[in-house]
């Protein structure tokens, strides 16, 4: 192919060559020409990855703490057992030996457990490292692949939060990103959620005990809410004596901080489950269990340092707002714009429009940006297209231009350059 020398100067030949290259190389070329802004953009985007590093670390920390507690407990119990044997008034020699031997095997068991625990810890440490390495690995060459992985991570996060575990696992496996997603962490949540969906509070309460100190720190009342629900179930079953005993034992300790709610629930003893009184009727509705599931998810996310909303929703919102312009909702919106699709338009409806401080003109014909290198030109009817598009058209048609939107025919020489600042 031959590149015609362009009529308005020699410098433009140099600019047409990179533009002729494929779009993929154009993207990398842009990376090379403006490294500093691209680099700071990349840095900014990495700063959004707090959750990626935080969650496996919280998991790791939890394992370390649990293992340590187990060791402490066993060791002190072994020592006190030895003391018991020694302090016993009349131990037979055989008994004493037997006791000590059982302690030895107990210690052996503990040692095995300790080694096993350490293996888990090391695996989790590896995962934390893998994520740091993943953040470090991104550069201009692998950026688009890295971005694809990021979207997959975001999707797995969404699916885990929405309890679509099978797809989450399938996607993680097929893309080989298991180390970058938190499937194992959510397995813990799955047990509790499944139980709550079956209207069982046991696993949820056990989870509260496991994480007691941290829940207390964040002033969580999730356990109280579980207890209230159990109480309601006793009332529903007309098991009033047990309900009262239960309330004494498990609800009363919360009285100091949550007296209002406690009183309201106690009143159901009088109103019963078939009450028509709206205030108490809702307490017996099955959707209370859904509410508990949502509450649990929130507590769970908070504990692991996750965002309360799925990452997908956060990025979608920001992206939709940044892309949203009044033109997106017009019929001739280009299909390359996500907001040309009904589903995206629907999601963007309650979101704010983007804001621009500088003009950004896209040529109607080539969809390319019009700037000083490819300046906009005005047809006699006021329609504006890029120099590149108009020149190409003129070359093909002996200098005449046909406006693609109005059908107006004019000569290339009638065009006027517009200066946009």
């Amino acid at each position: 192919m031959e590149i015609d020398p362009l009529p308005n100067g020699s410098g433009s030949v140099g600019t047409t060559i990179p533009e002729a290259a494929a779009t993929t190389t154009a993207a990398t070329a842009a990376l090379k020409t403006t490294p500093s802004s691209k680099l700071s953009q990349l840095t900014e985007s990495l700063k959004l990855e707090h959750q990626l590093l935080r969650v496996p670390f919280e998991h790791y920390k939890k394992t370390i703490r649990a293992n340590h507690r187990a060791v402490e407990k066993e060791v002190s119990s072994v020592i006190s057992s030895v003391a018991d044997v020694a302090d016993c008034n009349e131990p037979s020699k055989e008994d004493a030996v037997l006791n000590l031997t059982s302690l030895v095997s107990r210690l052996q068991g503990l040692k095995r457990k300790l080694e096993e625990g350490s293996r888990t810890e090391n695996l989790q440490a590896q995962r934390c490292r893998a994520r740091l390495d993943h953040l470090e690995s991104v550069d201009a060459e692998n950026l688009s692949e890295w971005n694809n992985v990021r979207l997959k991570r975001i999707l797995v996060d969404y699916m885990l939060r929405m309890s679509y575990y099978d797809t989450a696992m399938k996607l993680a496996e097929s893309s080989n990103i298991q180390d970058l997603v938190d499937i194992d962490v959510f397995q813990e949540a799955k047990k509790v959620i499944d139980a709550l969906r079956n209207q069982e509070v046991g696993p949820a309460l056990a989870w509260c005990v496991d994480n007691k100190s941290r829940l207390k720190k964040s002033k969580s009342k999730f356990e109280f809410q579980l207890r209230l629900q159990e109480f309601i179930e006793l009332v529903r079953a007309e098991n009033h004596m047990r309900a009262i005993l239960y309330a004494r034992r498990h609800l009363a300790p919360w009285g100091a901080t949550h007296l209002k709610e406690l009183q309201r629930v106690m009143a159901t003893l009088a109103f019963r489950s078939n009450t028509g009184c709206a205030k108490y009727k809702v307490l017996f509705e099955p959707k209370q269990w859904d509410f508990l599931v949502d509450q649990f998810k929130q507590e769970f996310c908070r504990l692991y340092g996750m965002t309360l909303e799925p990452l997908l929703n956060i990025y979608l919102q920001a992206g939709l707002s940044a892309l949203k312009t009044p033109y997106c909702y017009e019929d001739d919106c280009t299909k390359e714009d996500p907001l040309s699709q009904d589903s995206f338009r629907k999601l963007a409806l309650p979101l704010p429009y983007s804001k621009q401080h500088h003009s950004k003109l896209v040529c109607y014909i080539t969809k390319e940006l019009m700037d000083t290198e490819n300046p906009p030109q005005v047809l006699p009817n006021g329609y504006v297209y890029s120099t590149k598009a108009l020149k190409e058209m003129a070359e093909k048609n002996n200098g005449t231009i046909t406006c693609p939107r109005t059908g107006l025919v004019c000569n290339y020489s009638e065009l006027v350059k517009a200066y946009i600042s």
């Binding site: 003391a83 740091l132 969404y158 009817n381 517009a418």
Partner: protein, 381 residues
Amino acid sequence: MELNSLKDAFDRVAKKQKLSFSKTQEVMDLIFQEIEKAIEMMQSTTFDYKSVLAELKKKLHEIAPLSQLEGTQKELNIALSKYPKALEKILNPDISKAYRNIEFDSNTVNQIIASHFYRLGLFDVGDCFINETGEAEAAVAMRSLFQEMYQMLEAMKSRNLEPALKWAAVNSDKLKENGSDLQLKLHHLQFVKILQKGSRDEALKYARTNFAPFAANHMAEIQKLMGCLLYSDRLQDSPYAHLLSPTNWDVVAEELTRQFCNLLGQSYESPLNVTIAAGVQGLPPLLKFMTVMAGKKQEWQSMKQLPVPVELDKEFQFHPIFVCPVSKEQSTDDNPPMLMSCGHVLCKQSINKMSKNSSKSFKCPYCPSDIDATQCRQLNF
């Protein structure tokens, strides 16, 4: 970014954890040995077993295993609390700060996700997703649309062009309308493939039947291909060696994808991909703004337009945006951009203001020209 300091902080945690583990083991071994020794002594008759027991108790008390563990544990705890603090300092601890509290309809979101999987060719994952969500049925249409495309692309990966050629032949008119020479490009690949097998006659025959319709517009390319015929048995050492490069196949596969999406009325890039990428670029300035505006959360929830400009890369620019350089407002139908006689462009309202409603001429804010407001022309981008 200070990823290195994060790595250091984490290394410290891992080191202290190892230290704590080996200390625990050491202490346990110690207890273990003492008890074993005691058992041994008790079983021999030379020692009084009671005093052995008392001795063991005393020993264990002296070892004080728990306080021995305390030291390393404390160091570990310090490292454990430092790492998350470093994370919070260097990274953005809460990216949901700029989140507007609205419920996204999960059915719509799921539909978008399922379509995304299908258009990426992840049919298994997409099927699994639709199964699990029990909704997003609408995306099934996407599945059958894109299945055809991936069959063609898969076949191309094993160097089989038949499905792609067939599709291009069926759609040749539409392709021509879009100005795409995909069909020729496919024939081109097929021609080189035949030639590579060494059958010059067959290649020539193929060229005769298939290149003729493109002769009018693509003479140069066809001539080049015919030139290859001279080197049929040693193409890799010929001036045409570049025709053998596998990247040619990738380029054509990309063009095929582009044209296929185009004919389907779909975008080339997955819209979910585009939106999330825009979100990644848009989020940092929004978060920065929210940190500054910490007190005005309420306003954020109801704003009609983002309070700060969010600059996206030009691949996200789908619509022409004109911002009046004088009023800094975006143009609208009521306030369109106007071309002044000097070639500079302002919004109508700004021109009205400066010309006192066209009652007098004014000076262009960008050059020394005198502007007559009645001579300004409305622009359509």
